[in-house]
Each structure stands twice: as structure tokens, then as C-alpha cells.
């Protein structure tokens, strides 16, 4: 740990600073700083291959980076090491956030046990598990599937399961990676509502990455455009869509996919 003094009044936020990451000689992120505060939805927009998924994984301490730092509520936790368990501070940080991937997978076993997973990992047992899991399943409209084998669910059901499995936990930050890609409109609407509610009703910081302009417009309080591993512009939703400063943002908002 560095000896730097903590910021006097750190805003409650999950923050990545100056993240640098290369895969096999190709630079994916060149000095990216992105954060999300509690109670807001922050959408990171960008074309495919902009490094959005990598950024989320580094924030969630799943992947290592070549430079930069992750901080939680002003407390730096460094960067995860490749192929190694987290240190204690990083694990405490991990327990306060969860990532819902683009293509979620179920654990072996029933839907109920899948959703109970993170609670059990946190040492929560018994009636409390049943109550919380029941509530989460109801909230996401999959209570009838509680005893179904989780790996036999449809795509939309699996995505709901993944969302329930994350939001059943006592989290402060939720990371969503293209979380409605390839879903039908009814599922998209339900999951977007759940994401909005997580931020605005429950006070979580929700950071979502997407290539979908319209989703960012519907959901986000703040929008950041990431292109070729660099932040082009970061602004409130109104500013981003109505008065973008960077010409590349204007082009992206106008629907040109390769700004």
C-alpha cells in the first residue's frame, strides 16, 4: 500500500484511474479513468472492441492491468494480480460489487441454489437465505422457476437469473456488461427497469457498458464515450446527447458507428 493520505472527503464511488491494458501487444486501454457514484447509472458507450468489457473486468478485480488503480469510496485497492487470489482489501472490495456478464452462465443445480450462491459465500444461512432469494426471484419474475435446473433456462430467463443472483446480495456497486444483448423487448424492459431501480431506489452505483445508444438514453444519468481504449467524452446525459463537445461524440450520437 502506498503511503499517500486518503482524500479528505472521498465521494462514495467506484473509480478506475489511468488504466492501461494490452493483450498480446495490442493496446486495449490507454490510460482510462472511469467511475460511478452511488445512486447513479453511468453508461460507458462505445463500439465493439473499444475495451469496455476489459474495463469492467479490471474494475471488478477479475483481470490484471498493466497500469492504473482501482479505488472504492476513496480507498485504493490497486489492481488484481493475474492468476492469483485477491489480497484481503481487494476481497473486501469485491464483496461490495458484482458483475453481470453479457452471456451469463448458471451453476449446476437449481435456480434457487444459484441465486443463493453469493449469500452462502458471505456466510448467510437458513431462513434469511430463503427470504432474500424468494424476494429476488419474485422481483425478477422467475419465482415459479425456483426448483428448475438452472442450466435448462432460456436466454432471457438466464439473464434474469444472473441479475437476481447479483442483486440479492448486499452490494454497493453493480457492473453490467451489455446486459440486455440478444434479448426480446419484454426482457429488455424488465431488466432495464431493474437496473434503474437498483440505482435510484436502492442507491447502488450502476456502471453499464453498452454499444446501444438508445439504452444509454433510456437509462443513464451520465454517459462516457470510449473509443479505441480512450475516453473521448464524459458528461451528463443531457449534455452528452444535446450538446456534445467532441466531434467524435457528435458523430457517434448521429449514428455513425465508427466515429
Amino acid at each position: 500500500m502506498s503511503a499517500r493520505p486518503p482524500a479528505p472527503h472521498p465521494a462514495p464511488a467506484l473509480q478506475a484511474t489511468n488504466i492501461v491494458k494490452a493483450f498480446a501487444g495490442r493496446t486495449v486501454l490507454s490510460g482510462v479513468s472511469v467511475g460511478v457514484g452511488r445512486g447513479e447509472v453511468h453508461a460507458v458507450l462505445g463500439p465493439s472492441g473499444a475495451g469496455k468489457t476489459t474495463l469492467l473486468r479490471i474494475l471488478n478485480l477479475l483481470d490484471a492491468a498493466d497500469g492504473g488503480e482501482v479505488a472504492l469510496d476513496g480507498e485504493p485497492v490497486g489492481i488484481a494480480r493475474a492468476h492469483a487470489p485477491l489480497n484481503a482489501a481487494q476481497h473486501r472490495a469485491r464483496l461490495r460489487m458484482a458483475l453481470v456478464p453479457q452471456k451469463p452462465v448458471a451453476f449446476k443445480g437449481h435456480v434457487f441454489e444459484n441465486v443463493a450462491f453469493g449469500l452462502r459465500v458471505r456466510g448467510i444461512e437458513g431462513d434469511e437465505v430463503a427470504a432474500r432469494v424468494d424476494a429476488a426471484l419474485s422481483r425478477h419474475g422467475i419465482r415459479a422457476l425456483a426448483d428448475a435446473p438452472a442450466r435448462r433456462l432460456s436466454g432471457g430467463e438466464t439473464q434474469r437469473l444472473a441479475f437476481a443472483r447479483a442483486t440479492v446480495l448486499p452490494l454497493e456497486y453493480l457492473l453490467l456488461d451489455e446486459f440486455t444483448a440478444n434479448l426480446d423487448p419484454a426482457n429488455v424492459k424488465a431488466l432495464e427497469q431493474a437496473a434503474r431501480s437498483a440505482a435510484h431506489d436502492e442507491g447502488l452505483g450502476v456502471l453499464l457498458v453498452t454499444h446501444d445508444l438508445f439504452q444509454a438514453r433510456r437509462l443513464a444519468d451520465r454517459v462516457t464515450l470510449l473509443v479505441d481504449g480512450r475516453v473521448v467524452e464524459s458528461a451528463s446525459k443531457g449534455e452528452f446527447f444535446e450538446a456534445p463537445k467532441d466531434p467524435r461524440t457528435r458523430a457517434f450520437v448521429a449514428g455513425e458507428l465508427a466515429p
Binding site: 492468476h83 487470489p85 469485491r94 458484482a98 458483475l99 459465500v121 447479483a166
Partner: protein, 206 residues
């Protein structure tokens, strides 16, 4: 004699599972230097001739050997140790493969939901349970069917350390082929029953 066969091989296998499953899961859960070398070594032990292991254990456990103080030569404990060592590479190596083969997305999901270290390993074992079950069965198969190690370490003492495989060797040597074949059928039935039972116990893969 059949009961002793079952007891020795089951004990050796349970001990091999107790050590090999956590060890294999740990090895399969992460990347580290020398991984390929260790894996090659472990897999080379799949081909370890039981009679050679028996000889090495004989020398180790004999009165003047490094573990002579245990007085385990020609005892059931020595036989269990021999079968434990025979089964261990299989249980460890095949558990390693099963855990390493788990979908990376499943591993990431476990970690993002908070599993780390012990809870992570426990999750991997649960996800790979079908493969680990097979690993333990192969370990038991190695133990129940071998003769070289138990005959060297146990000494084939009638009523004490004689098991089915060693008795078959002895009766064949004495020319009592009918008894040898009979013992062989008992061994075969025992082995088939144990494997059929374990297979029925195992859940349907899905």
C-alpha cells in the same frame, strides 16, 4: 479375506481422495510456474508399477529403513499406505483435469459473486463433481485390482494380511486352480458391485 480386500482398498482410496481432491482442485484452480512439469510428473506416476512401489515401501518400512520405527511392514497399515500412494496420482491428476476444464465463465461468476480461496475451491469441486467422482473411482479401481504392492508390503500372511489378489497368486502357485478361480470370481463380483453401486449413487449428468 474379501472383507479385508474391500477395507484396505476403500481406506486407501478414501485417504487418497481426502488428499488428492483438495490438492488437485488447488492445482487446477490457478496458473503457476512449473505447472506443466508437475503435471507431467504426476501423469508419469499413472504408470508406476505397483510391484516397484511395493519394493520401495518394503525398503522404507523395513526395520533399518527410514520409517522402520513405525513397524508397518507386514501390517494392514502398510498395505493401506501402499494403495493410498498408488491411487493418489490418479485422484490428484484427474481432479486437476476436471477442475481445469470448468468453463471460465463459471469460474468468473463464482469470483464476482464473492467466492475466493476456500469458498472458490469448494465451488470448483462442486462444479466438477462428476469428473472428481470418476477420478476417485479410477483410484479405487487401481487399488482393488493390484497385487504387487500389497504382496510386498503385506507379506501375504494368512488370516492377517492376505487379500483376494494375493490369495489368487498363492493358490495358483500351489496348483489349486479351482480355488484361485473361485477367489477371482469373488474379486470380480466385489469390484463390479462397488462400481455399480457408486455409479447408481452418482446423479444424472446435466
Amino acid at each position: 479375506m474379501a472383507a479385508l480386500s474391500l477395507a484396505v482398498s476403500a481406506s486407501g482410496t478414501v485417504l487418497a481422495a481426502a488428499v488428492g481432491v483438495p490438492l488437485g482442485a488447488l492445482l487446477g484452480s490457478r496458473e503457476f510456474r512449473g505447472r506443466r512439469l508437475l503435471r507431467a510428473f504426476l501423469q508419469a506416476l499413472y504408470g508406476l508399477p505397483p510391484v516397484l512401489l511395493g519394493l520401495l515401501l518394503y525398503l522404507t518400512l523395513s526395520r533399518t529403513g527410514p520409517l522402520g520405527g513405525l513397524h508397518w511392514l507386514f501390517t494392514v497399515q502398510g498395505m493401506v499406505l501402499a494403495q493410498f500412494l498408488l491411487a493418489l496420482p490418479f485422484v490428484t491428476g484427474l481432479t486437476w483435469s476436471a477442475v481445469a476444464g470448468i468453463d471460465g465463465a463459471v469460474k468468473d461468476t463464482a469470483r464476482t459473486l464473492g467466492a475466493e480461496r476456500w469458498t472458490y475451491l469448494f465451488t470448483l469441486v462442486r462444479e466438477a463433481r462428476a469428473g472428481i467422482f470418476a477420478a476417485v473411482m479410477v483410484g479405487f479401481g487401481r487399488a482393488i485390482s493390484e497385487v504387487g504392492a500389497v504382496i510386498m508390503v503385506g507379506g501375504n500372511i494368512q488370516g492377517e494380511t492376505e487379500v483376494l489378489t494375493t490369495a489368487i497368486v498363492k493358490e495358483t502357485g500351489r496348483g489349486d486352480f479351482a480355488l484361485a478361480v473361485g477367489l477371482g470370481l469373488v474379486l470380480l463380483a466385489l469390484s463390479v458391485l462397488v462400481f455399480a453401486g457408486l455409479t447408481l449413487l452418482q446423479e444424472e449428468p446435466r
